[in-house]
Symmetry: C2
């Protein structure tokens, strides 16, 4: 378990109310940010202190891995310079019995701040560039103690509905498709069927792929037509229905691929995430680097997205 | 591929219009019926001649295995003595260019009729007891030729939405739950979440089961809380939420269990359907008779239903 500290920007109400964190994938100049990468690094069960307006008022437990997701609509005009697509991390927040103002206990806090990528400067103010910063268990405990919260409250991860963010995003995309009058009835129907890997999309994938690339299963009703670039992230109708944007996978392999636990390199080698335990990899019959078949150029285009935005390194 | 002949009863319009066959599981006196068992025996890709009112007017291709399903509501008062639960088989029907009256070509047909379980008697009338009868390829071809249909039309199985019947039944159960005013909001919500293996049901299953009984995977977000007695077939809210009515399974094993390709005996031994190829069984890591752990009495109660009404022998 790791401990984190988030310096919310102008969207803290939306993030607390919506039970998540959201950040762009990069700085506005295109540079990598350790603070944004940390949203990708956080895992189910990690604990997060929520800092805004000079005080820590909430503590959260991470419910699942982050996913690539559009900027939440409830942000409105806030963060206009942020990219449209970012990382979203589901977090269950609990209000502290007593908010903690770091400046008031600076003597305790200063020696515990990380040397690099610290959320606070030496004066106890939030670092301008910081978003999600890793902190030590000791610093976390100091803040929780000052808040008068019973530490036991934080034991155990709430068993929330799985894939809550994914389902919510999918629903909003589906609603947009259903009300898009520039599409014909048939197009709307096929685009919605594609969400579940059905209809035209499935047919298109079957024209290209014959069997599950990991298990070799080729029995139709045991295979899912799985999007490489997720349905919700596609930029157009043609991406959503493109047979090159799909693989036929058994349900377990589909799940691993969809959750970013596995991906493929361009030569068809399996990539296994460090987040999947060796035991589980064996149980699912995975072998690192196992090659079944190479990919077409169109498939490689989508796989690049998968490796960058779905796969968990 | 096998060939079948159905003598519709008074529900032929519903069965043709709804793209299925439906029959009770047993005779009204509780006796087994070969004609009803045949609905269980039919498989994807099999061809069916539809006979009603003295003529064969449609030919159908079986889209999927049959499932246990309530008597279709569109039957209304027809077949009132039939049991509430029966077998439903998805079939895609095509009208013949010219209906065929068997009596008019009785000379050709008689020698090709099966000796046992024939759909017609020697006078060319439908046998009273017959429902789905197996016929020879030769008899099938005689009828198709007489109908002036191009036999090639029947090549290939339409790629229809998978699990169409299951989804339709689930939807109608969910609508009933949503409009059941005898339930509280929370109950309605939990019953609907249970359909997807979420919420209270999942929590209840996790109190009893720890890992997938086949693969041993114990990572929560890679496991589905799967109903043993299907959600749609449960008789009460308590059955739908009962943790003893669930197993934690990886998505592929969940699919095999849900589609009746595997089940368990009371000692925890895996049963593998004859419909699953040996190749696929190996690809999914299945071993006949492999025991992980025995079941509780409450689990055995639900497993008996699964073996009888879901498992494909």
């Amino acid at each position: 378990m790791r401990f984190w500290w988030v310096n919310h920007k102008q969207t803290w109400r939306q993030e607390i109310g919506g039970e998540y964190l959201w950040c762009p994938k990069e700085e506005k100049d295109g540079k990598r940010s350790q603070f944004y990468d940390n949203v990708r690094n956080a895992r189910r069960g990690d604990l997060v202190l929520s800092y805004a307006s000079g005080k820590v008022s909430f503590v959260g437990v991470v419910l699942d891995n982050s996913i690539s997701a559009p900027k939440p609509v409830e942000f409105g005009n806030r963060g206009e310079y942020w990219s449209r697509e970012g990382w979203q991390l589901p977090v269950s927040w609990t209000e502290l019995p007593q908010p903690v103002v770091p400046k008031e206990i600076l003597g305790q806090i200063l020696p515990l701040l990380p040397e690099k990528y610290s959320p606070l400067n030496d004066a106890g103010n939030g670092n301008q560039k910081a978003y999600l910063a890793e902190i030590s268990n000791d610093l976390f405990d100091v803040i929780i103690a000052a808040s008068k919260m019973d530490r036991d409250v934080l034991d155990g991860v709430p068993d929330s509905p799985i894939d809550l963010i994914e389902d919510t995003l999918d629903e909003s995309v589906e609603n947009a498709i259903r009300s898009d009058l520039s599409l014909s009835d048939t197009e709307r129907r096929q685009l919605c069927l594609a969400r579940k890997g059905q209809g035209t999309f499935r047919k298109n994938v079957k024209d290209i792929e014959r069997a599950c690339r990991i298990t070799g299963v080729d029995t139709s009703d045991l295979l899912i037509a799985s999007h490489i670039k997720p349905w919700r992230s596609c930029q157009s109708a043609s991406e959503r229905l493109d047979g090159n944007n799909g693989l036929l996978l058994t349900p377990s392999i589909d799940r691993l691929f969809d959750k970013g636990y596995i991906s493929f390199d361009d030569d068809g080698n399996v990539l296994i995430s460090s987040r999947l335990s060796t035991d589980d990899a064996i149980r699912f019959g995975l072998r690192q680097g196992y090659t079944r078949r190479t990919f077409s150029d169109r498939q490689k285009f989508y796989l690049e997205y998968h490796r960058k935005s779905v796969f968990l390194p």
